[in-house]
């Protein structure tokens, strides 16, 4: 007797499985950080509302646009390698790295502005969260860029093609995680009051 089974196998996670466990851990840490910020704000509403207004919302919004666009470029890079267009893949990855570099430059301007006013981690609770949260994310942007650089380097040496592009997906997944975290960080720290 035969039994008809309509069994559609779910897809595997894109990229290397190890990067996903790393991503889950990163998200857990950022998630706890976000919730602690929101809870600490309950005890310090006036302080948080007052000092939030000192942040540069324009730079925060511009950085959000840069990261979203950079993530979109990475999507295009993955699409390109799937049709064996290595050159296009590399070009899109360079464009994504440009977005990441733009983010770092704008964020550096923002930090420079705050540091020149004598603001540091011990200024008050709001700035402690603002600086530590955004600097922690800043480091992840740098790490994401290092990973994308490594992918570009391997792609240039012919390491990826339409049959073998796991590394490109791995780098892309990490870069999207960096974007995903900022999507919550931006409204939480800069906008919501």
């Amino acid at each position: 007797m035969t039994t008809a089974i309509n069994n559609i196998e779910p897809k595997l996670l894109p990229g290397d499985l190890a990067i996903w466990f790393f991503i889950f851990m990163e998200l857990l840490v950022f998630g706890i950080f976000f919730i602690v910020y929101a809870v600490m704000r309950i005890e310090n509403i006036e302080l948080f509302n007052h000092y939030q207004l000192t942040l540069n919302r324009e730079l925060g919004a511009a950085n959000t646009l840069l990261l979203i666009t950079s993530s979109y470029f990475v999507v295009r890079a993955v699409e390109a390698i799937r049709v064996n267009n290595v050159k296009s893949c590399i070009d899109w990855l360079y464009a994504a790295l440009g977005g990441g570099m733009g983010f770092l430059i704008l964020k550096s301007f923002e930090y420079s502005d705050k540091f020149s006013e004598g603001i540091n981690l011990s200024t008050n609770t709001f700035y402690m969260f603002y600086l530590s949260l955004t600097m922690f994310h800043f480091l992840h942007v740098i790490l994401g860029m290092i990973i994308l650089f490594a992918v570009v380097h391997k792609a240039k040496r012919g390491g990826y093609n339409a049959q073998n592009y796991t590394g490109v997906e791995t780098g892309a997944s990490y870069w999207h995680m960096v974007d995903l975290v900022w999507i919550i960080l931006f409204p939480l720290v800069y906008i919501i009051r």
């Binding site: 998200l27 646009l65 979203i68 409204p187």
Partner: protein, 86 residues
């Protein structure tokens, strides 16, 4: 047939949602409805990244549950903290 729902329009939608978030901040809007709107906007954008940029729409339920679960849990917890503080 080319669908309107593709990576290009998703990128455009996220740009528009980001600008709406920025302008709500610039206008100095506050209150529970604004907080919920801003967090819901973040959930939509995060969902689009997970579903379409990370390409998790067809992976097994466990992985999607972890990612969407993280997104909703964090945003609901933030919303509750803000509701308590109002």
């Amino acid at each position: 047939m080319k669908t309107v729902y593709n990576v290009h329009t998703i990128w455009l939608l996220m740009i528009v949602l980001t600008l709406s978030t920025y302008f709500m901040g610039k206008l100095g809007l506050s209150g529970i409805a604004v907080v919920l709107f801003l967090l819901f906007t973040a959930v939509i954008k995060g969902g689009l990244i997970i579903r379409d940029f990370m390409e998790l729409r067809d992976v097994s339920f466990l992985w999607r549950a972890i990612m969407y679960g993280w997104l909703w849990t964090v945003c609901i917890a933030i919303a509750l903290a803000y509701i308590i503080s109002l």
